[in-house]
Amino acid sequence: MNPIRTFADIIRSPGVDETASSDAGMSVVIKSLSAYYGKHRALEDIDLDVRPGLITAIIGPSGCGKSTMIRCINRMHEVIKGAYATGSVLLDGEDIYAPDASPVRIRRRIGMVFQKPNPFPTRTVYENVIAGLRLNLPKMPKAEYDETVERSLRAAALWDEVKDKLHSSGSALSGGQQQRLCIARAIAIEPEVLLLDEPCSALDPTATLKIEDLLFQLKAKYTIVLVTHNMQQAARASDMTAFMLADESHVGHLIEYGPTQRIFMEPREKSTEDYISGRLG
């Protein structure tokens, strides 16, 4: 169930109202972040203060570095051969690029969901949900796994649909269900931040709205960063919006960041207006 909305919630933009930011989730402060693929620079000096307990949408045309940026938030970017990042990303004040920071520990605090639902095809729904736990943590008693599976699937709004087929293959589910299964898998490890890279681009409108409703519920517990190509999705589902752009003179950089309502009603930058109203390029 979504929290009950009031008329005032339409008028009040959570990003504008400082108090609406909760202590849920973790702040992610990105400072002078640049990212490279070998010699090629893909991101230039990004400064972005992701507020805890809110949904932050990252929008921008293809190739502007959106995905690269969120992959820098959990040190996934450097997994690609030759790729590296400079600058810092502070999770609750702790620099994940500090020399002694452990990428594995960081990734456990940050869940990630990708564009295409990617449940492990040979594993059951149940095994999919606990895959991250098994990988990261010592073996637990079965009762604890059972409890985690139910809690995660409930949180991902999938429990009622799959509770009788927990031991069937995850790939037998519909696309929307598979994506919610991936969200369940991501939150099973109890991360503090959830990164979603175009999570609905392979889904139909009904499944998309279900995911958006789900994100709305999850933001009470997690800081959510959502990369999306879908302008309406950013407008509907997020509290804050960051617009990125790459052009002839600059690689991917941040153009404008602010409360979603303001970005979509009164953007300050012309390129933001051009992009969100479909007139860029």
Binding site: E266, E273, I276, R279
Partner: protein, 215 residues
């Protein structure tokens, strides 16, 4: 990109301007009918009101279709909302032209219009403010919106003086009570034309800047 949408947005603006021009003409016709007691002209104005109401609904629907279909944002969305609001104000101004036309029929039936010069000037001013406010809205021209809204003080002044004069007449000449009351009410309605035009100016500024300003 979005060429079709941009064209259609322009079309909405053209329709608004056309409707404003039509209502402007209604005001002029009613004004001259008031002066001459031309009952046929007055009847035409009254009969045309249905057209104005129908256009209001059509333009509102077109705005709703564009909002639903193209899901505009930022200045496009503000502009459509402003058009949607302004079209109701144009329609209301049309109603005041009809009111004046009804008084013109009274004039044909023997009523003496009092403060006729001021009333004629108010109608002229109302038509001009209507035309300019809608032009400001369509062109998203904040400067024109502000200068047009500033004309409302002249409108208010005419109403104030008319009110004073007619109250004096009522006190002095009780037999003129009926004509004076009808003339007084007419000036009150004409003054409302200015208020609606000012509201359109506020929407023009909202469209241009994102801020709704009481003018």
């Amino acid at each position: 990109m979005r060429e079709r949408f941009s064209q259609e947005l322009e079309l909405v603006g053209k329709e608004l301007e056309a409707l404003a021009a039509f209502v402007g003409k209604q005001i002029e016709t009613a004004s001259s009918a008031l002066r001459t007691g031309d009952i046929e002209a007055a009847q035409v104005v009254i009969g045309n009101d249905k057209y104005v109401n129908d256009r209001d609904i059509e333009i509102s629907n077109a705005c709703a279709v564009l909002i639903a279909r193209d899901q505009p944002v930022a200045s496009d969305l503000r502009h459509l909302i402003a058009c949607l609001k302004a079209v109701s104000d144009i329609e209301r101004i049309g109603d005041y032209a009809v009111h004046a036309a009804k008084r013109a029929k009274d004039v044909a039936g023997g009523m003496k219009l009092l403060a006729g010069d001021r009333i004629a000037r108010m109608m002229e001013l109302g038509a001009a403010m209507l035309g300019d406010s809608v032009r400001a809205l369509v062109a998203r021209d904040e400067t024109l919106a502000r200068s047009t809204a500033a004309l409302d003080s002249e409108m208010d002044e005419h109403k104030r003086v008319t009110y004073q004069d007619l109250l004096g007449i009522m006190a002095d000449t009780p037999e003129a009570l009926r004509d004076a009351t009808k003339s007084l009410l007419l000036s009150r309605f004409l003054e409302r034309m200015g208020d609606h035009a000012v509201t359109i100016c506020s929407w023009a500024i909202y469209s241009a800047s994102g801020e709704y300003v009481e003018l």
